[in-house]
Symmetry: none
């Protein structure tokens, strides 16, 4: 009993978008212990999709489709499936009503082309889409063959997979051998140094331990396979503990944790609050902090001081120091942090000033030079210098600067 992933969309053949849906589904199938041996990408083309169906239905028992469920004429997954199995399309009034209601709620008119999305093959069940207008199907067009279709929009596909497809597949006997994974997350330590610390643990087979690194963040993924989630957890627990002890304060969380949730948890514990003052990140640090639901309990806000006039006017940075040391300096970072803490009345003030590039760098102050300031509840103010290197992109420097600021606050809160 094997599954197979089929992604439909000419935009994938043109290289316009990365096939993140295939990766998502591959990971999910692995987690459920459902084997899958092939992934196929095919364009919005009836004949070629039929050709792919002909091949896939001969070798797999569960076919998972993404894409081609939209309202436009080039969205033809559903009708091609019906045609392939020689089954008529039937209009489902409940889908039509659902689409109309979703449009009405946003104060918009349903367009006639959306009507097409209510046409499903006779005998197929509706795979409800809780967000968008395109529902999928769960269909067994013949014994021992199950088809699931999802829209190509990742957020819609993910919810439909989690809320409907997984429970359905479990009732059908798929996914009996379970894979449980735990991801430990680290900041401030390199992948190779962490891998050396982990040593022989990287060679273990159940659970496996594998390092990943992206945008300054390093992860260790611990995966265990067992007959039940409990047994898998029991295999993971001692390894996880060993890795955490070995890495100390570098480990800021696991799985869905981010630096922002880690900081938020610590601030909730102490009952303290934070405000931010941002120059080169332009709001990215505030955005990161407020990605966390409930962050209003400890994050009050801040000042985006992109222009020096705002640093002076709203953060009380000294015009003389701006002149003498420049906007990208320890002095200005500290005054920004102290200024936002004072103006907002928060426990902590956290600031960022730097050169994100691609222009604006000099020999003395190259692109990638960033200062982060931290004003503490006791009134003391510190700052740290970072040199991220001139080869990094503007996006990278801005992202890693915001993360570094959060990590600086996190370490201060841990002390």
């Amino acid at each position: 009993m094997t599954a197979e992933i089929i992604c439909v969309g000419t935009e994938l053949l043109l290289g316009d978008i990365l096939n993140d849906n295939a990766r998502y589904l591959a990971r999910e199938l692995a987690a459920l212990g459902i084997p899958h041996y092939y992934q196929t990408v095919v364009g919005d083309n009836r004949d070629r999709l039929k050709h792919v169906l002909d091949i896939a239905t001969r070798r797999s028992q569960l076919l998972i489709f993404t894409g081609g469920l939209g309202p436009t004429p080039d969205d033809l997954t559903t009708e091609t499936l019906a045609d392939f199995f020689g089954v008529p399309l039937i209009e489902r009034p409940e889908i039509l009503a659902d689409i109309a209601e979703k449009f009405a709620r946003r104060g918009r008119q349903m367009s006639p082309s959306n009507r097409k999305q209510a046409l499903l093959p006779q005998g197929a069940e509706i795979l409800t889409n809780p967000i968008g207008s395109a529902p999928g199907i769960i269909w067994q067009p013949r014994p021992s063959l199950t088809l699931l279709t999802f829209p190509g929009v990742p957020s819609e596909m993910h919810r439909m997979w989690q809320e409907i497809a997984i429970p359905y597949l479990k009732t059908q006997g798929w996914g009996r051998n379970i894979l449980v994974s735990r991801t430990l997350k680290f900041w401030g330590i390199g992948e190779s140094v962490l891998a050396e610390k982990a040593g022989s643990l990287l060679d273990s087979t159940n659970p496996t331990v594998a390092p990943y690194a992206n945008l300054g963040e390093v992860k260790l993924r611990v995966c265990a396979r067992a007959a039940s989630a409990e047994e898998a957890e029991a295999l993971i627990a001692p390894v996880e503990q060993q890795l955490q002890e070995m890495s100390g304060h570098y480990c800021f969380g696991r799985d869905e944790d981010t630096l922002a949730t880690a900081v938020g948890r610590l601030l909730l514990e102490t009952g303290e609050t934070v405000g931010v003052a941002e120059s080169c990140t332009g709001g990215g640090l505030g955005r990161m902090l407020t990605e966390v639901p409930g962050s209003s309990h400890y994050f009050w806000g801040g000042v985006i001081a992109y222009d020096n006039r705002v640093k002076i006017g709203l953060l009380d940075v000294s015009p003389e120091d701006l002149e003498t040391h420049g906007a990208v300096s320890h002095e200005v970072a500290r005054q920004m942090a102290a200024g936002v803490r004072h103006r907002l009345g928060t426990s902590w003030g956290l600031s960022i000033t730097g050169i994100a590039g691609p222009d604006g760098g000099t020999d003395a102050k190259p692109v990638g030079l960033v200062y982060i300031g931290l004003a503490s509840p006791d009134g003391s103010v510190t700052s740290a210098e970072y040199r991220f290197g001139e080869t990094r992109s503007r996006d990278w420097i801005r992202h890693v600067s915001a993360c570094s600021a959060l990590d600086l606050l996190r370490n201060a809160l841990l002390r």
Copy 2:
């Protein structure tokens, strides 16, 4: 004459990595005007790779493989190809020498397993790897069938593709027809409405016109195929103009344009400046504006007023109005916009206040309710209400709110 991409690697089936190689090659093939209709992912497995070969060799004349060229036992692309076509593997002394030299240069010993990488099918040419140890092959195992193999490491694959594969393909008559594409970008109009407006243009064949939608943004991609870039541009130009006229102000740009670059261009033209006041987006609007290098010419900064105390203290929002109308209201949005314009001294003030969820919604003010305020250079202040719907994620609502704010300013600048 069509090409096909075959990516070999169990890590792709486990979802450990994104298939960026397929996207890279897809884009390259599109740019060369070489049609390709299928992409396949298969694991490190001899029998299944042969099965994929059996299918691909029947339908395509150029097969491009990535992955499975390394020294370990699970790297079996080369030997499986030789086996499939019934051709022996021959050790190539020049490859062996090259690998040994690369190891020596890094002060390392070549391991015995690297010897395997010098074994290529009889009759295959070497596709030299200028960086790593794994060479690929260029092979015509039978008339009208060309195979290219590349290592899975993106940096190696890219250089081998650019430096060797492209020139080779051109000598073989591939890529004589060029594909040029233009993407028009829209905000404030639905995909289905835009598709209906485009009407019969969606059925044209050269150039083709196809709609895409993601995160509130809608795109129309115009693709022309011709013998030269100039001819392709000439095919695109009238269609592009027609689409732009038909869609009016909904079209904010093309190709690499974003709403932030569109707003920036208009502000540079008028010599005006903007400041932002953000509640639910927490800095996301400022971050979006400052993604554009050089945005300091028109973006001065702003206030992240997540907590009402910051709305009152730094934006002069009236405590009474906050009490009477609530923070998420036309009144507060307008006062935030006027407040930031006044405090910063910018030409424009742009504000966002809303309920991003998942909690905090009520019947009267559900999740997804957002107000955007705009204070203009003439002192007038307007606001707009958006209802994005309660089913949208926090991330979606925050992202689309920031885009909607930029679009409101863009439309005001156009008037």
